[in-house]
Symmetry: C2
């Protein structure tokens, strides 16, 4: 992750090439394009958003390529897929440390966070049930500060009537 807060593109391309080579796959400019577009967009994107953005650079790229590329990127560990409530999957670049999500149910803004207490509790819980933990999802849904204010203002207006 560089100073821009986004993972470094060249680094990502290198990791992708490594994975591709190690698994008897082949390099391709489309796959690197998807990676480029990914770094330009916000951290959470849907397959369709990637497709539209990728078409700005390569009008002939198809949805199938996006999905197939996303699978390769997931296999290589560069990307994770997330199903938030409702709608399509979101894909997210991985940058070493993972994070959980706090999502506004009104404006859909996503805040990432990380918490050691929860982390440890997860290990403890898995151990209690004899599970070998592989991954987890932890998402909190609520109203962000801005949307709370908006609601409060709206309620006030109603009262004033």
């Amino acid at each position: 992750m560089n100073a821009t807060g986004m993972p470094d593109l060249d680094e990502l391309k290198r990791l992708l090439r490594d994975h591709v080579q190690r698994n008897g796959l082949k390099s391709s400019s489309r796959r690197e394009l998807v990676l480029e577009v990914f770094t330009r967009m916000g951290r959470h994107v849907t397959a369709d958003e990637l497709l539209r953005a990728a078409r700005d650079s390569d009008a002939r790229i198809g949805a199938a390529t996006i999905y197939r590329t996303l699978r390769v990127l997931q296999d290589s560990g560069l990307v994770v897929e997330r199903h938030f409530e409702g709608g399509a999957s979101q894909f997210e670049l991985v940058d070493g440390d993972h994070h959980d999500h706090l999502i506004c149910i009104e404006c859909k803004v996503i805040v990432e966070f990380d918490d050691d207490v929860v982390e440890q509790a997860q290990e403890r819980l898995a151990a209690r049930f004899g599970f070998e933990l592989h991954s987890h999802r932890h998402e909190l849904y609520g109203l962000c500060p801005a949307c709370q204010k908006k609601r409060a203002a709206k309620a006030k207006r109603r009262t004033a009537d």
Copy 2:
């Protein structure tokens, strides 16, 4: 929730009738059938599982009715929908206290758990970002004890060759 560990059917039917009446809807035997089937099956079921089971009692019931009924049940607060990773939504009867999930990535068995430490951490995190918390998802994915053994046995067999 009664001694069987399943919510009480009569109680559920009563709650459903209340909701239906309060909202100008109408009672129907199909909706109560879905509720019955729900209590007979494990806690987590897909729409398709409900459909097949319901057809044992009423061969003519259709998928649309299941989905429409599930929406009514959700509106009434009796059921919640969950999108675990991959595949179809699962629906779950609500019985007052909520719980989180530990899911085996191999055999898909689901263990429910409840943890105060995590619960408190969630409140704390939401507060830190000024969010007003409404709900959350917390799912741990891993290998259950049985599937760990199966994998170990398989690995051993390979080694023996």
